[in-house]
């Protein structure tokens, strides 16, 4: 059997757990799967999906502008 990693390259559990979580939560909207503690918030799950899958591309590219982005983030937060 082909060997696998416990921590995936995108810091997920193994391979594609976040995708599976999304699929299960969507399935839960059609058939009741049981007590999943209210399930995962769909918006949050989509953000996690993006972070896991695109994080390796995005984070190394935005890190040089971290301080500027942080200031922008604070500004947006304050305006909210």
């Amino acid at each position: 059997m082909k060997q696998q990693y416990v921590t995936g390259k995108n810091y997920d559990l193994g391979k594609g757990e976040v995708g599976r979580t999304l699929a299960m939560n969507l399935r839960n909207k059609i058939i009741p799967l049981g007590n999943l503690g209210g399930g995962a918030h769909l918006k949050g799950l989509l953000i996690l999906l993006l972070s896991h899958f695109l994080g390796r591309i995005i984070f190394p590219r935005i890190i040089p502008f971290e301080h500027k982005l942080h200031r922008l983030y604070l500004l947006v937060k304050r305006k909210k």
Partner: protein, 695 residues
């Protein structure tokens, strides 16, 4: 000299190697540079320490009969206040607002424990805090390798950190990480209150180690403390701002923040902290990965639930039933002492050699064969007639010939409704025979030695020394406990038996009394829990995954007690030299990587659960998700990888049932079906919903 920033570790090391011959001293920052944390916020370990102190002080108060309790939140607040006060005091004398752990922690301990001789306590609390730190710290593999190369080249290696832990504590962390021998000195701002943040640490180091700024290279992660400040002094600085580390921490933080509002994410957050990083994350057998990511949270949470139950019910003695209990005990030893550190009323644990085949005869030695127990024999379709009753209860059939004929029965009379030739009146005759005194007398005569041997074994194990005992098993009907309790119930010193099962499926009603009960921790049919009921898809898988690498127990044999060391009993194990024994061995070796993964995962579960302070209820929604996604909606590849090869059950006979409808099981469907029928899993799940609603 200048400061260079790098956004990937590889680039930093490459540049460092290129310029390293210009320097003879290399100083490294410690946290987030040489060592990274699994958690996003270093302060997350403080509540765990507060819980430990709270457990210690409250346990002591209970022993002394004092009512005053300290909650961990109160202790955490006190620590924050005292630490802040010390930082303010330091700030008046130095440029940096630094704190020193032993100083302020001594004040916390004095306030909480209210005593003078707190040296020992401080030592123990420090040990605990450092153990928690160690459990979340991981050395950066590539950077430590470069450090080793630099050391080989004869450079002076310093580790410099702005932190509240003194250098002696940091040395222990570095020793645990495995590279203390490569470091010439460890320097902490907690000792001198001169930190890198103000830049005051660098002249101090220059003087103390007789260095030269021009021949000094500093490596760290903070653009100010590790970049700007050393560069101001003329030290060449390499600053690492690692994008992937940022990503990892950002994910950990997001999971943590979500877990504060949504209970579904608590278990997921815990698993994020559990993940192996850097050199720990090496390619593993697929079953190891499943053991780590799926089985270890389930089983660790189960033993945590068992511990919670024992603490709430005041149970001080716990027995793990063989053979699944072997793995539960291993998991307990890895998880519970860490999660409940400082708690002194945890139950004492032991492993008890039991099995249905060994206990069935012993259960009849005093009270005879009960109809309810005889009925259990005919639950599996492999059992058909009186010979199967004899096999299960360790009886010789020949002495029963007369009593059988009195009730118009013989050994081959079909007694199971699942077999051809079954007549209900024969079963009624059999039940009547169970009430026959002559029959019961013969049963007791034949099973008394096993009964006596069991009692000697249980006495040897201290079973009768406590008023309450917890009996931990995987499940499912509680048959082992049922037999065990019948064997001991007549004794005045019989303890109250609290069965704690991984899954209580209750296929037949359990005779619950205050003195004898079972509770399902992860799944109990008495509580409607659709998601957890998915473990019914493949119960054998859990049994195989948890099974001890020793043969099953066949019985208890009475021996002479005359010799000094003779216990008066002997445990008889099944031989492993036959085909079934060999098949079982093969199965054990097949699942060995899975168990390895479970043990490795349990260690990390303990650390993560200690830090987050989660209970079983907190992580239950995530466990339910794991069960539903892995048992009811598994990928075809997963079923192929994990599906067990052999499953031994001596309790089940060898007969082939003719009337038993072949139960359709998802896990036994063909690969073709699994792969190409898109709604197959949904069909099975709808069937499960129907069954659960009916039952």
């Amino acid at each position: 000299m200048s400061m260079q920033q790098f956004y990937a570790l590889g680039q930093l090391i490459e540049e460092g190697e290129r310029i390293s011959n210009r320097f003879d001293t290399i100083s490294f920052d410690l946290f987030d540079t040489l060592l990274i944390r699994r958690i996003h916020d270093p302060d997350m370990i403080k509540p765990a320490v507060a819980r430990y102190i709270s457990n210690r002080v409250n346990s002591r108060a209970t022993r002394q009969g004092v009512k005053k309790n300290w909650s961990w939140q109160q202790i955490q607040n006190l620590r924050d206040i005292v630490e802040k006060e010390q930082r303010q005091e330091t700030g008046q004398r130095f440029d940096d607002f630094e704190a020193c752990y032993p100083d302020y922690m001594s004040r916390v301990i004095s306030t909480v424990f209210g005593e003078q001789e707190n040296e020992q306590l401080l030592q123990e609390i420090t040990d605990y805090e450092l153990a928690i730190e160690n459990s979340v710290l991981v050395p950066r593999h590539e950077l430590v390798n470069w450090l080793r190369i630099l050391k080989e080249q004869g450079k002076k290696i310093l580790v410099v950190s702005d932190v509240y832990l003194p250098a002696a504590h940091l040395e222990r962390l570095i020793e645990h990480a495995g590279f203390l021998d490569q470091v010439d000195a460890v320097v902490s701002s907690a000792d001198s209150f001169l930190a890198k943040a103000s830049g005051k640490a660098f002249p101090m180091l220059l003087e103390r180690f007789e260095l030269s700024y021009q021949r000094w290279l500093h490596v760290g992660d903070n653009p100010v403390s590790d970049g700007g400040r050393p560069a101001e002094r003329g030290i060449h600085a390499l600053v690492l701002r690692d994008g992937l580390e940022k990503m990892r921490k950002s994910l950990a933080k997001r999971y943590y923040n979500y877990s504060l509002g949504l209970s579904f994410y608590r278990g997921r957050c815990l698993q994020q902290i559990m993940l192996p990083l850097e050199a720990e994350n090496i390619p593993q057998h697929p079953l190891y990965v499943k053991g780590f990511n799926v089985f270890s949270p389930l089983l660790s949470a189960f033993v945590q639930g068992v511990a919670e139950h024992c603490l709430n019910a005041g149970i001080r003695r716990l027995y793990f039933f063989s053979r699944e209990g072997w793995l539960f005990e291993q998991v307990w030893n890895r998880v519970i002492p860490k999660i409940y550190a400082g708690v002194d009323n945890l139950p004492k644990i032991s492993y008890l050699y039991v099995s249905r085949m060994a206990l069935a005869p012993a259960s009849c030695g005093h009270a005879g064969l009960h109809q309810e127990h005889a009925d259990i024999v005919f639950l599996p379709p492999g059992n058909k007639d009186f010979r199967d009753v004899c096999r299960v209860f360790g009886l010789k059939a020949a002495p029963f010939t007369h009593v059988l004929s009195l009730h118009e029965l013989h050994q081959e009379t079909v007694l199971s409704h699942l077999h051809e030739g079954f007549l209900p009146e024969n079963r009624l005759r059999f039940n009547q025979m169970l009430e026959d005194e002559a029959f019961q007398k013969e049963v007791k005569k034949q099973t008394r030695p096993a009964h006596q041997a069991l009692h000697r074994y249980l006495e040897d194990q201290g079973f009768f020394a406590q008023p309450d005992v917890a009996l931990v098993d995987i499940g499912w009907l509680g048959t082992i406990q049922r037999f065990l309790y019948r064997a001991i119930a007549h004794r005045v010193d019989a303890p109250r038996c609290h069965g704690l099962l991984f899954g209580a499926t209750r296929g037949i009603p359990y005779p619950t009394t205050p003195a004898n009960s079972i509770t399902g921790i992860i799944y109990d049919r008495d509580r409607f829990d659709l998601a957890a009921s998915t473990l019914l898809y493949n119960r054998d898988l859990f049994e195989e995954a948890c099974r001890a690498p020793h043969p099953t127990l066949n019985g208890y044999r009475l021996t002479e007690k005359s010799t000094e060391d003779g216990a008066g009993y002997e445990l008889v194990f099944r031989h492993e030299d036959d085909a079934v024994g060999q098949a079982e061995k093969e199965q054990d070796s097949f699942f060995a990587p899975l168990q390895e993964g479970i043990f490795a995962g349990a260690e990390q579960y303990a650390a993560a659960a200690t830090i987050l302070g989660y209970s079983l209820d907190d992580v239950k929604p995530w466990l339910n998700y794991l069960l539903v996604s892995r048992m009811a909606f598994p990928k075809t590849r997963e079923i192929e990888e994990i599906c067990q090869r052999h499953h031994l059950d001596d309790f089940h006979g060898q007969h082939k049932a003719t009337k038993a409808a072949a139960a359709k099981e998802l896990w036994k469907c063909s690969r073709l079906k699994l792969r190409w029928r898109p709604l197959l899993r949904t069909e099975f799940f709808l069937r499960l919903i129907k069954e659960r609603l009916r039952s």
